[in-house]
Symmetry: C2
Subunit: 342 residues, 2 copies
Amino acid sequence: MALKKTLLEDIARELNVSKTLVSMVINGKGDSYGISKKTQEKVLSKAGEMQYTPNMFARALRTGKSNLIGLLVADISNPFYSNIAKYVEKALAEKGYNLMICSTDENIEREEKLIQLFAEQQIIDGLIIASTNTSGEFFKKERLRNFPIVFIDRYLPDIESNYVVANDYQGSFELTDLLIHKGCKNIVAFNITPSHISSLTERVRGFKDALHKYHLPFKESNLVEVSFNDIQNDVRKKLIALLKQSEKIDAIYTLNNNIATACLNVFNELAFDAKKEGIIFASFDDISLFDFVKPNIISVSQPLEQIGTEAANLALKLIDKKGAGTVEYEKIVLPTSIISRN
Amino acid sequence: MALKKTLLEDIARELNVSKTLVSMVINGKGDSYGISKKTQEKVLSKAGEMQYTPNMFARALRTGKSNLIGLLVADISNPFYSNIAKYVEKALAEKGYNLMICSTDENIEREEKLIQLFAEQQIIDGLIIASTNTSGEFFKKERLRNFPIVFIDRYLPDIESNYVVANDYQGSFELTDLLIHKGCKNIVAFNITPSHISSLTERVRGFKDALHKYHLPFKESNLVEVSFNDIQNDVRKKLIALLKQSEKIDAIYTLNNNIATACLNVFNELAFDAKKEGIIFASFDDISLFDFVKPNIISVSQPLEQIGTEAANLALKLIDKKGAGTVEYEKIVLPTSIISRN
DNA sequence: TAAAAAAACTAAACATATTTAGAAAAACGT
DNA sequence: ACGTTTTTCTAAATATGTTTAGTTTTTTTA
């Protein structure tokens, strides 16, 4: 009735050999185990004929390897992450690995639970993660210390780790520098809070340093923080207040695409024409949306394909090297580029 | 050295009971197997203390259930799919299931290979798929006939199946109807080719029927086809030709968000002001981008959250019912809504 | 041609759970 | 106190591969 799957044993029985032999041949170890060419061919052709595919669970159970990589991000529907995911998947597929994607919703508990489930249990062979954690404490656990983890987008400053990130500091510095060159004297940056995330603190640092370079003062009012849980409403409230205030500002700089989109929404609602009001709009993260939007947005573009590809390859490299003594961390920092739409 | 994982046996040994008993209790079957309350508590507390978590592979191997659902889409970086993915994941997480996402790049071979790998091998318990296949032939295979599959976005007309799709026909009809009411007499629709995909053929049908309703002729020139593999360039070529031609058109209607974005790019390049030229721009699929773009886009919005949630729940339902005789297919068609930006 | 070496293959253990069939212990009835 | 039930628990089989430690067969060497 229910079509039975072909097992190693079935092939072995058909050919009157042991399943050990079949397993060896199927795994391409026929030569190294000294199985004769003729036998190898017989096995392979019979396996093809019987449409044999090994049971991943049995294999993973025995070998402790699943050929699965986990990708943990805040929100897979954020184009930043979904684009990275696409390239991660592509790079992994080339090496016979598959991807499990999970969203954490920037929820530390959920993140930790998922890591526990997948990484500590060795369901995945490696983890690529944009961690939302405030510290590296969790990752110091004995069970994780030796697990292949690649941080992307953000790293945790208090632990040594492998990571692939954009040069947030440099990108933010250059963008701010450009704004100043365009004559801006009172730039207001919008950040999200809690803002412990490294990519954001780096961007803030770049922003401040660029101001400092040109002897522009940094006041409290140059940095607005909006709450992650309610970005749209918080942005609306604070942006409107900002536009109403007497002190004139000449640039708004959002520190990620979420805040940018929220601001654009408010502009839309208010039919606010930033250009006409002499306000330059700039943002970290370049999303395709920005190509079409008024006002023209000056943005810092991150190399998504490269981030995804490098992260995948680094993860695979760590898996290969696993256990091989050397614990040298790879810290890959990729250059960003300014997209200056005129 | 390498921290050993806690096994069922370890708990059993500590408590001087059999691992059978431990397994039963861990799986919440203590009562039905008549394990005394006291023993159950002992086991549970010891398991917590020893941080036991069952090995998914051993469990899946034995039970044939992995609590994994596969999601196969053309391109996870397409916001349409990444949004659906988000809601699918959310609905599954609530029921203790996890998601494996793979992109097929609209490549039939890759799609079939992935299905073979995951579904036929029973690595996943169920599959949610936006199939790129031209026919249902592949899904008729004995090994798949009884496998829980939910088609989303597109269904295959030549086979019976479970699916969750938007009402493409209705949405397209209403949109076209609206355009006509706005005075359009020569609407050009942009489709991608090969266009065997059900959602697209339905949209074309809705378009034609609406024209017909108002006795507007449908000519070859009312439907432009662009190749999926090179959307941007093909759109550029054909859109430019269209805008140059002598015959005046009064609306452009793109049949999905990819084509829409490509068109907008061309408008941008040419600094073409559709509104000024008396052309209304409309598109199937509503993406957040459209909120910000000039010209104002009239669009058909699909209920992404609902599609994702219903698909996930239907998949779980099929898994539950598996083997339970009744083969009644669920065909869920969800209403779309017109977003008419003025 | 017998002993040694090399080549080709296999039985059994193992990875870690779940489940079936049945055993031991406790409680009950008389 | 002894057989019968009922309650509680367990040994062994199973799921499907990989790997270790041999064994058998063939070839080579003296």
